[in-house]
Symmetry: C2
Subunit: 364 residues, 2 copies
Amino acid sequence: MEVHVDRDAFLKGLQMVHNVVEPRQTLPILANVLLESDGDTLRLTATDLEVGARVSVPAKVPAGGSITMSARKLLEIVKELPAAGLSLKVQDNAWVALRCGGASYKLVGLGAADFPAVSSGEAAAWITLDGKLLRDMLAQTTFAISHDESRYALNGVLFAVQEREIRLVATDGHRLALAVRPLAGAGGQVSGIVPRKAVQEIARVVGTGEDVQVAISENQFILRMPNVLLLARLIEGAFPNYEQVVPKAHPHRVTVGRAAVMAALRRVSVLSEERTKPVKFTLSPGLLKLTAYSPDFGEAEEQIEVQYSGEEMTIGFNSRYVLDALGAQSAEQIVMELKDGLSPGVIKSFEEEGSLCVIMPMRI
Amino acid sequence: MEVHVDRDAFLKGLQMVHNVVEPRQTLPILANVLLESDGDTLRLTATDLEVGARVSVPAKVPAGGSITMSARKLLEIVKELPAAGLSLKVQDNAWVALRCGGASYKLVGLGAADFPAVSSGEAAAWITLDGKLLRDMLAQTTFAISHDESRYALNGVLFAVQEREIRLVATDGHRLALAVRPLAGAGGQVSGIVPRKAVQEIARVVGTGEDVQVAISENQFILRMPNVLLLARLIEGAFPNYEQVVPKAHPHRVTVGRAAVMAALRRVSVLSEERTKPVKFTLSPGLLKLTAYSPDFGEAEEQIEVQYSGEEMTIGFNSRYVLDALGAQSAEQIVMELKDGLSPGVIKSFEEEGSLCVIMPMRI
């Protein structure tokens, strides 16, 4: 194999695939990135056997072929190279000569034959999504993914397509985040739980805002863009019935400025206990009072003017969960829907932008 | 005590003193900051019994007095407060009421009587230094402070005043960094080893570039600025004879662009062993070749044009030490002075800006 590639394009490709490589692998070759070249393309592939990523970079290819190399070392090297043409040439015993500017490397390679097969990403049905839309939906849900490894089905985001609508849902049992958007065309009826690692990779690659195509098969999630392919094995297991979790008709509705309540929550929660960060919300007509208490350091109180005309009520929340939910919204005015001190609260934007977060209350 | 103070000024004061507070203390009150007010000033003091810091902030003082409070919690709170007037009022049982904007806190305080005495910073003789000059000298030396706690005398920077000159020196036995500047007036003949923590605090407070006054007594270092006082107990012990360490007449002199050699070193050292990062320097007329080798990943080579007319020679260095020394210079052209592959090398700027670094070679 011999290829000539632009250093910046190669670096961008490496950065896109290298996160898939696990720092500790069972198979040594999984530490490597697979480089394949033919025609006018250099393809970079990485996999951990659960999640795979493939990026194509334009290249001049005097000699097609393939090789694998340490993904981490290659990235470290290419990061430091000057912005210029870069050449790779496979030599005897899988040595790879890399040249760029005044730098020349002779790197240890490993034959491509032992690299695990990564699917070429064929699927029967594709859904087309705006990249920015998908990124927003992920930002509105991923924070609620469970970190409890014993609740495996919650360690990802549910992608659920229902005809002309796509829904993303994540929950850790304490809060549930839901994002809903209409689809341009019919999408059929498919769903799957995409693992956290793949979700993070998706969020990274859709940053450019290009259109993306998504397919969900029985056990695989595929995302493709013109030069990028992401594959993930779906999490097996039953996702909770999220529609049952979302309260339909809470009687109390509070409207409040998002920035003001976030700032006040941050201030008050400095004095709440570190692990669960409890803050008490006390509502009375026109006023929200936030309070927190620490036996070691003292107590904090903050009053915020809100739009509220219901009865007086008190409810406690983990302030981190409320800050996460508010941070995932972008509207200036947000709405909290409450029933009583023991029922979950709902946070969404005043203008109904297709996402909400349900948060379980805490006894305070 | 009751004081009214500007939130931004109070925050800046807290940020200046809070680093002195150790996360884990033997005495609980050392976790606190001492607040003292009288006249039109609020004084903030923190100490770990080795290093002390005191900052004065303009304030309205309806009632003078003093109190101590958790430095960490107070900083966390004040960070989140809006930019506005802030009031502190000591109440019964050392409770402190803090109000700012819509936020009100009732914080646990501890009487000032138990706070350790921090000297008011009197000294017989002061040396006046430009703040920026002191900051530069620290940047040119602190990187070489030893982290080996068994070599206590090397855990700081030697400040040595010799009449009309001030020298700062740090060494860890593998490299030695020296910065020298002329003094405006006579400074006498004093010296002392200032511990790393105090050095870091000095670097923080002299950032503004104001003039500073420095005094070194038998066992104490004092730095004062109009509203800031820093005190540090000097490290006892003998500092190595640094003048003996600096080679006087190395025959080989290499002149090279600082940015170019730093970039090349970073690239090549990706393939050198992680712990001591060895890189081989091979000199021939007009050319510097840098090489590194990793049994697992391969080898790297880079050639740089240099001004050199001496004989061919080879020397190995820990590339981190060379990068530290080059990073501490600001000139575009730097000079390496070498004797042979077994003698220490000297790195300094081409224009002789009053600092240099001596680095021990490695066998490669």
